[in-house]
Symmetry: C2
Subunit: 228 residues, 2 copies
């Protein structure tokens, strides 16, 4: 069964990158400093490096997990900024090897790349992109690849079945928070079911199933009124 | 060796309570709704209920862990709002059974309660309270009990050796975030060492050693420039 899954690396204080920057050389900005610290574990992983066409890397629990999670994906959804940002670095053979649906306001022809990656530009919104990706995934999962705001919008729209967080052991103190703007209204919560935890020295991986938003109830047994 | 440890229950999106409320009946506010959802795991724990003087509760991994963590503590530091808020519910035998140092602006005589709990009111700041608690802990740990802003201030002051987070599997969408105002300056991060993870269906416990704030470095091997 196809799951829509979102997967992001964040710091323990919840940031997926440093403060947003519009510098021309992004890699010199605090945004990039934070981003590269948080994603270091995957950049070190042999499986990820191989998929990106980079040499080296560590054979490790982290590398195995990255490979396992990636193997589940049949199609991808991403935001326009991420797709644009990747267009240079990903080169002629982007690391997706499957259909990618880019949420954008700008019409553009589908781009077919080497290695089986295609980029389809979807101008009628995130939910349409997810629906198209579900069709294309052929029973495998749809990964909301990012960036952070696209993940937020997908969670807020109730479209994410599974949330995978890779928690890097660092406090950044500032930056762009992943779990903001989630569309949960006051007095409600969106309940999750913890499915799996993988713990290493470099990162803690948390896998949750995402439930529906539901009213919080007054469970004041801890307030002293619940005394038996 | 005495460690200064901070321990809080938070939602996956980082909140220790709902939005701050000044309602007279706090338990009816969204702040309390969030707080009681997040702390439900410990209110269900037999060891915690016993310490609070409440009947019932579950014998569980969570209960054992709560007991184990509590047994390490020789003295406590807390903020004024938490101490005031507890004064009613904790009754004549508060659940600390040791010296508590309350950071406040208001001078007040030390209060000695039944069961070995004392409240000493410290008017010359958090670091002084922590120093006094270290003396009083007799080789055991000093627990920064809360509330959230006191934990933040202690982390920002570089006074916390160990951070224990109990992550409740819920997205609240709004509230008071624990890991804010940490005094980390732009381009820096405070590195942590993951020490332990305990995973249950109700909560995920993460234990970190807290390191020094250090400059982030440009690790752009994942940007395409690091191609080998």
């Amino acid at each position: 069964m196809t799951l829509v899954t979102a997967e992001m690396s964040i710091s323990l204080d919840g940031y997926f990158a440093g403060p947003r920057s519009d510098e021309t050389d992004w890699t010199k900005s605090p945004e990039a400093l934070g981003f590269f610290r948080i994603t270091r574990w995957v950049v070190n992983a042999q499986s990820w490096r191989e998929r990106m066409g980079y040499a080296g890397g560590e054979q490790s629990v982290n590398s195995d997990l990255a490979a396992e999670l990636t193997a589940r994906n049949g199609a991808y959804v991403m935001g326009r900024r991420m797709a644009d940002g990747g267009e240079g670095p990903w080169g002629e053979e982007p690391p997706f090897h499957g259909p990618v649906f880019v949420v954008t306001h700008r019409e553009r022809e589908t781009r077919h790349c080497q290695g089986g990656t295609s980029f389809t530009y979807v101008t009628d919104g995130l939910e349409s992109a997810i629906a198209q990706a579900r069709e294309a995934a052929n029973g495998k999962n749809v990964l909301i690849s990012g960036g952070g705001t696209t993940v937020q919008q997908a969670i807020a729209a109730g479209q994410v079945d599974e949330l995978v967080l890779h928690i890097a052991p660092v406090l950044l103190g500032e930056g762009q928070r992943l779990l903001d703007n989630l569309g949960v209204s006051t007095g409600h919560g969106r309940e999750l079911t913890p499915e799996r935890v993988v713990h290493t020295q470099d990162v803690t991986h948390l896998v949750y199933r995402v439930g529906k938003a539901a009213s919080l109830f007054l469970d004041d047994r801890g307030s002293g009124d619940g005394e038996a």
